[in-house]
């Protein structure tokens, strides 16, 4: 629907997320700290969402249920 709009004058760099003007795009160099933070931000969002799902699925399996029981047993022994 909106595909006829040309790219904006400023677009975030795909590697570091910094807002880069069209005229500066070719000479843009990512700041390492910013790139790391950006990658971590993007990673953590998708990984947290998927790991919660995976953990829930795992804990529902026989092996997962056993590990929950085993961890609970250790916790009670330590108490």
């Amino acid at each position: 629907m909106f595909s006829f709009f040309t790219e904006h004058e400023f677009m975030p760099c795909e590697d570091c997320g910094a807002s880069v003007a069209r005229v500066e795009r070719e000479k843009h160099v990512c700041d390492e700290k910013r790139r790391t933070e950006y990658q971590l931000f993007r990673l953590s969002r998708s990984e947290i969402a998927s790991s919660e799902e995976e953990l829930g699925s795992y804990l529902a399996t026989a092996e997962g249920r056993f590990h929950v029981w085993y961890a609970e047993r250790d916790r009670r022994r330590a108490a």
């Binding site: 909106f2 709009f5 040309t6 790219e7 904006h8 004058e9 400023f10 807002s19 931000f41």
Partner: protein
Amino acid sequence: MSEDAKRISRHLIEEVYNNGRLDLVDELIAPGYVGHDPSLPRDTTGQAAEREIAAGYRAAFPDLVVTIEDQIAEGERVVTRWTARGTHTGDLWGIPGTGKEVTVTGTSIDRIKDDRIVESWSNWDALGLMQQLGVVPAMAQA
């Protein structure tokens, strides 16, 4: 009047939007305030609504900095051309944080009465913001 009016509009941008001084909204915005912004679903009416708008943008872009590029005043009206820059780490209109830094320009006209803003008209590049956040696809440059 014109210089005082400029100061009030500038104060709203620099203190409330840039520094997060939401407590100053009541000092700068009149109780019967109406804000017109075609990118929002409805007019912003009253101090609490303006505070909510500012808080929403600051939650979405915690490092938000609005730079005043130009300011012209005549009588009770102030025209401000601005550029906003910030990193989208919080929810904006249902769009979860992307970590992307965006640059958006706009122009606002404030009408000042008794040292407070009573009405505003803003037009800003909401489409550009959506493009930068990756919500609206853009045609590749020729």
